[in-house]
Each structure stands twice: as structure tokens, then as C-alpha cells.
Amino acid sequence: MPRPATVLRVAALALLIAFLVTPQSFAPLFAPLTQYGAPPIYDQGNLLTLALAQLGTVCVAAAASTVVAVGLGVLVTRQRGAQFLPLSRTLVNIGQTFPPVAVLAVAVPLVGFGERPTLIALFAYGLLPIFENTLVGLRTCPPAVMEAASGMGLSARQRLFAVELPLAMPLILEGVRLSLVINVGTATIGSTVAAKGLGEVIIAGLLSSNTAFILQGGLLTGLMAILLYDGLSMLERRLLRTLTLD
């Protein structure tokens, strides 16, 4: 008898896929929410394509953020970069108070509409959770393990890749997860600057007062975000079990 959480998860995933692949079959559900014969299912674009486009934007930005944030985190925890550490932590604090919408809004006049400002905003806003978690992960490596590694003759580079980063991995992954989930949300707003995504459906609904559209867009994005959050949590837990620190 599978646990209730697993049942919910599988059901949610099935629902999401079903809706994206055969949206019209859900038409009768949404029909009561429309007025004046407006179409119950979003018909100005393929829902599956939009969902994938949004997911794609989010993942590209997340990959870029991860590389830069982890790199910065490593740099700042080395001896040579130590002088940048206090400043970087203050910047992280400050950065977290910047609303993502503001970053998006400021990026548009600089790089135009479409995917680019969204990618910039997602990249910038996604840096912070990953950077902060990389810092914590690298700085809480058990000192005995670090000393043993030095004592055994691992060079600094070997210590970093064979010991420090693997041990910091669960925390870094947590940061990536937070970053991804925040980004799915922010990417929705990207549709206001003509980035392809499910936000388009919501905004079309807002513009034409079509509640069905709004609900579709909202529920789809919500489902995607929840499943992403959940899936990555499971991955994290698996990793944590192998790395139980004594």
C-alpha cells in the first residue's frame, strides 16, 4: 500500500501531463467559468510548448546561476579570496531584498523584450540562494576530515573536488532547488515582457476577463512548481542519507 504522499505525487504528475498533452479533454471542466461563449481552453498557443519553454528558460538560468554561484562560493572560501568574503555576504543580504520584478523591469530597457531580460532576472535572482548555501556548505566541512585530507597529501585542488564539494553537495542542491522554484514563479512574470511561458495564458485571461484561462495558467504553473520542488526534495534526501556526517 503506497504512502499517501507518493499517491498524491503520482496523481499530480499524471494530471499535469494529461492536461498538457490533451487540454481539450478538460474543456467541460472549464466551460462554466467562461462568459459569452469564450473558449474554455487556451487556444492562442500550444500549452505543452509554453510549459516546456518556461521550463527551458528556468533551467538554463538555473544552470548559469549554479555555475557562477558555486564558483564564487569556492573563490570566496579560499585563502586568496577571503578578503571578498564579508562584502559578498553583505551583497547577498542586500540582493535578497531586491524584488525580482524590479530586476526584470530594469533589464528590459537594457536588452529588449522576450527571453533575454527574463533570463537575466532569473539568473541574478537565482544566484543568491545557491551562493549562500555554497558558502555554508563549504565552511561547515568537518575540520577533522579537512585536516586528515591535508595530512594525507591531497593538494588543495584535490581537497576541493574530492572532499569539500561532495560534502557540501546536499546544501548546494538545496540552494539550487530553492532557486529553481523561485525562478518558475518569476518566469511567469516574464510573460509580461513577452517571454514564452505559461504566464501568457494568465495574462491573456486577465486581459479578456476569461477566468478559465487564468485558472489554467495558474494551476499549471502551480503544479509544475510543486512537482519540481517535491522531486528535488526527494533527490536531496537520498543524497543526505549517503552522506550522514558523524
Binding site: G151, L154, T244, L245, D246
Partner: protein
Amino acid sequence: MITLESLSKRYGESTVVNQVSLEIERNSITVIVGTSGSGKSTLLRMINRLIEPTSGRVLIEGRDTRAEPAHLLRRRIGYVIQGHGLFPHRTVAENIATVPRLLGWETARIAARVTELLEVFQLDPGKYAASLPHELSGGQQQRVGVARALAAEPAVLLMDEPFGALDPIIRAKAQDDLLGIQRRFGTTIVLVTHDMDEAFRLGDKVAVMSQGRVLQYDRPAMLLIRPTDPFVTRMTGLADRALRLLSLITAADAALPGTSEGPAVQGSASLRDALSELVWSGADSARVVDADGTARGRLTVAAILAHGHP
């Protein structure tokens, strides 16, 4: 084999190690003993350059340790610390194989070495090779730590309070195991501890440190018979120095010819233990036997007491 020449370490105004010169012999166990803050750990870590000396140098088999990059030097020196520092994300076998892999040994050789070491340390390879460190008990983890340090067959093994975290019963066994391993592999061991009993039990030679200086460096018996500094006497203990002296001599070495009706005493046991047995049983003499039962002679209380003073 290891020469420490006028080693000093200063941090700002304070001097942690002050002009220490020692000559450590091959195939021996040298114990550096002192209270916390005496500089003993710092001294040890200057041998494998985890701490760089402010002045002085270290020669291993005639070569200055600064002649090559530190991390290459350390691959030829085994290093065991109190927290054992096993990599939590690697299996026991992978942990032990770390330095041989760094040195580029072939896989077959590494696997053979790992199995050999696990057996020497009484850890069933079939059961433990693929385990993760957190699945082992504290005593087992400590043994894996030593095995890992010996994996690449180093000529020198440095140990910093390696048995400190073990409970007393396991600690005694671990100390005995170390003696056996040193005999088997012929490694030159330098061990740091604050426990005088441990120093006496393990050390071929003992260096007593206080406030950055080595006060006396000699065989344990000499520390009792001819201490050069009141601090040495304080550390070895004035009250039971006779008993300590007795603990350095085995029953087999002191046995007189003949036999006795009294209780049996192991040849490997110390005279201190033999005396304790005689006092407890109320007998005048005991017979000394080997582990397999062969008679080695007899011991009387008087004979034992004769060994208890210089």
C-alpha cells in the same frame, strides 16, 4: 632517521615551539608527551609540514622536507588524528585506498593492500570494505583511520592523540595492536599524547615537552631513574614511580630459573601486574608461563621488588 634541527614556531609574540632538536631512530616508537599547550601537536605537524616552522628544519633520511612540495611529502608519511577524519562520503575501502590511488598504484595492488590491512586490523573485508564510516563503531573507525594511514607503506607514521576518543577498555587493546603493527611493518612511529601511561606503554623513547621545549628525551626507565627536570618528575608521578618502573619490565625478562607452586603469570605481563597478582593471592612466588603454556621460570616478591628501584 628523522632529525629535528632547532625547530621553532612563533605566532606573533608567543613562541609555541622553542628550539627543539631531536633524533628519532628508525623502526621505533617515539612518544612526545606533555600537557595541553606544551607545543607537542605543533611539533608533530611541523614534521609533515602541516605547519611550517618559523626556523629550523626537518630531515627525513637525510633529506630536507622542504626539498619537495608539501603535499607530495605527505603522501609518503602516514598521519592519524584524534577525530580520525574518515571521508564520510566514501566507503571504508575507498578511504583506505586514497593515498595509493594518489600515488598511481595499479588497481589490483590497491585491492590486495586494502584486504591485507583490513585483516591485520581484524575487520572482515567482506563485511566492512563496502561500508560507510558512519556505519562503524568508534573503535572500528579509529582502526580504519590507522589502516588508511598505513595504506601506502610509509616509512614514517605520525599520530596525534590517536586513542584519545576511545573508551579505556578499547584503548588498551588499540595500544597493543599498535605495538604489533609496528613490529610487523617496521614503521617509524612518532606519537603525541598527554597520557603518561600511554607513553610508558608504547614508547621506545619518550620526549617530555613543556612550554615549547623538550625537557628530556630518553628511554622511559631513564625518565624515572634520572629525571633532568622537576617537571619530568611531576609528569611521571612521584608517588608511584617504583610501580611505573616495574611496569616497564616483563615477567619473562626478570624470571629466575626454577618453578613454583604459586599462581601462573604470563611471560608478557609486566612486573607490576605480577606483583599485583602475588599480593592478591598472598603467595610468595609465582610461576612464569608463555602464552602457549611453556614454563619460563619463577618470580618471587623479593625478586620483583629488587627491580623497582634504580
